[in-house]
Amino acid sequence: MRGESSTTTNTDAVRPALDRESELWVERLHRDHPRHGETVARLHDVLLRIAYHELSRRRGLLGSISGPEFDDLAQQTADDALVNILRKVNEFRGNSRFTTWAYKFVIFEASGKVARHAWRTHPPSREALTWEQLPDALASAPGDRLERQEQLSALSAAIGELSERQREVFVAVALNDVPIDVLALELGSNRNAIYKNLFDARRNLRTRLADSGHPVLDEEQVG
């Protein structure tokens, strides 16, 4: 994997001028500006609305949380996002509209809080992280062609040969649908590191399958 350094626009070298609206937001969020309090209140209001919407969108991971508990989570999400925005507003470089930049903070807060709630209330089971066998959806069936059966058998062997961390991550995320952020919390890691483990595991499995004479064809090759 590689970064976006050559094409990323968020560097000083290519800093664009702020659009007028973004400039007003930045000016008025300055603590000495006479409209500071009003501007902060307006921003918080929209952050709270986004927090409610985003938490609802991710409701599948929030279980039965509702009523005051849900309100409290939305409030905390908006409050924490606002604190981060005010702390970092001087770093805003105008590579997007100010509002899109600010909304990113509340989306990330919601993402993190939902994952933490899901992990606390429903941590992944030991079985979800432990390699035993391919799930039924992938397991070889009696009607499968021999080529398919051999490929699945090779995949099964290759999973067993992954490093412990790569196997744990691949089994949890790819085979047992454990959310990547929940797994990161369970393993005391972070999303980027878990994704890297998953990426490396997939690449290793593809290589091992190809080396054993059972390559996985991509969409174009299958045609």
Partner: protein, 79 residues
């Protein structure tokens, strides 16, 4: 040939994947390009690839795009 597609999806990897951290830094610019009708993959090819494979970053991207579209008209107090 569905069986091949299943394994291809399960083992999806693409060269040029920028990873999560790079995408987080530019996600706002990425979304603004999309909402302006431009193709963000031209400017941020590594993140476009990454979003196809990372469910966590894709969820953040989808949430931000929706928020930026729904609350596009919020302005600072006048005066």
């Amino acid at each position: 040939m569905t069986e091949h597609l299943d394994l291809d999806e399960l083992l999806r990897v693409k060269d040029g994947d920028a990873g999560c951290t790079a995408g987080e830094a530019i996600l706002d610019a990425y979304v603004d390009l999309e909402l302006a009708g431009e193709n963000p993959a031209v400017v941020f090819p590594g993140t476009a690839i990454h979003l196809e494979s990372c469910p966590g970053c894709r969820a953040d991207h989808d949430g931000l795009r929706e928020a930026a579209r729904r609350f596009a008209d919020v302005t600072p107090p006048a005066g």
